[in-house]
Assembly symmetry: C2
Homo-oligomer: 163 residues x 2
């Protein structure tokens, strides 16, 4: 068996775990989404959507798995990790995985499948492309409230941890 | 004083609270970002960035404030709330506020200011616009792992809570 086949078998096995987590979500009163964080070929964090269960709009499967993996590894830096997800990550989760430094994503369903199941992130993609002032949700900027002073104070800190 | 002036005074006062939270972030070993969730004109949740403090890449100020507000209100639905942030929300936080149903955002610094301070979300905006297969981070789709079965099981649930 060549290396590509081994990788595809590993991907399939790990993605099946994410799909099984999504099924657990359906069974447990969560949303129908599951995610697994993988490091050195091993699953280190598994989660399903808990938005309604936790009363937390940010509790998507991917966010839950990233938070769990970070806690377990003791770092916000998951740049040696991969994400397996039962569905294509929404813009919130995509942002989270980039901030985490995740280097590879394997997913099953896509945004169109999710939309058909009643979970559409189309508006979010559209709004991200718009200038803040032109969005459906009102975005107002006020520039005279000392916001820049915060970044200046940050720059002046000697012991800051950049990330 | 007309209504517009009253609103602007309220916005300024609440945005100054978000900026003060950002300053607390700098003082407390967090990142230089602060956010406040407001309901009926009153601040119900305040937070600063805690990525490094909490070892959690998702712990941006806006996410922390949304999670805190949701916990306090006992619901994932913040559609009667507004977000005040010391800086323009990144794509992750923008996604979170849309999922929360937040209706209005007031912010001080913008993404260019954040980039100058070493916090660039430019790559995330660029990657969101790309087809998953064309991104710098590898996105691989596998369609034969039963992902659709999860949505079918969800659809068949009688007591599901749509959101």
């Amino acid at each position: 068996m060549n290396k590509d086949h081994v990788m595809q078998d590993d991907d399939r096995r790990l993605l099946l775990m994410a799909v099984e987590m999504a099924m657990q979500g359906v069974r447990n009163g969560g949303g129908p989404f599951g995610a697994v964080i993988v490091r050195n070929g091993a699953a280190i964090a598994e989660a399903h959507n808990r938005v309604v269960l936790n009363r937390d709009p940010t509790a998507h499967a991917e966010i839950q798995a990233i938070r769990l993996a970070s806690t377990r590894l003791g770092t916000h830096d998951l740049s040696d990790c991969m994400l397996y997800s039962s569905c294509e990550p929404c813009p919130m989760c995509l942002g989270a995985l980039y901030w985490a430094g995740i280097t590879r994503v394997v997913f099953a369903c896509d945004r169109r499948d999710a939309e058909q199941a009643g979970f559409s992130d189309k508006l979010i993609y559209e709004e991200l492309d718009r200038d803040p002032a032109a969005r459906k949700v009102e975005f107002v900027r006020m520039t005279d409230v000392g916001g820049q002073d915060v970044f200046a104070a940050w720059e002046a800190l000697e012991d800051k941890v950049r990330y």
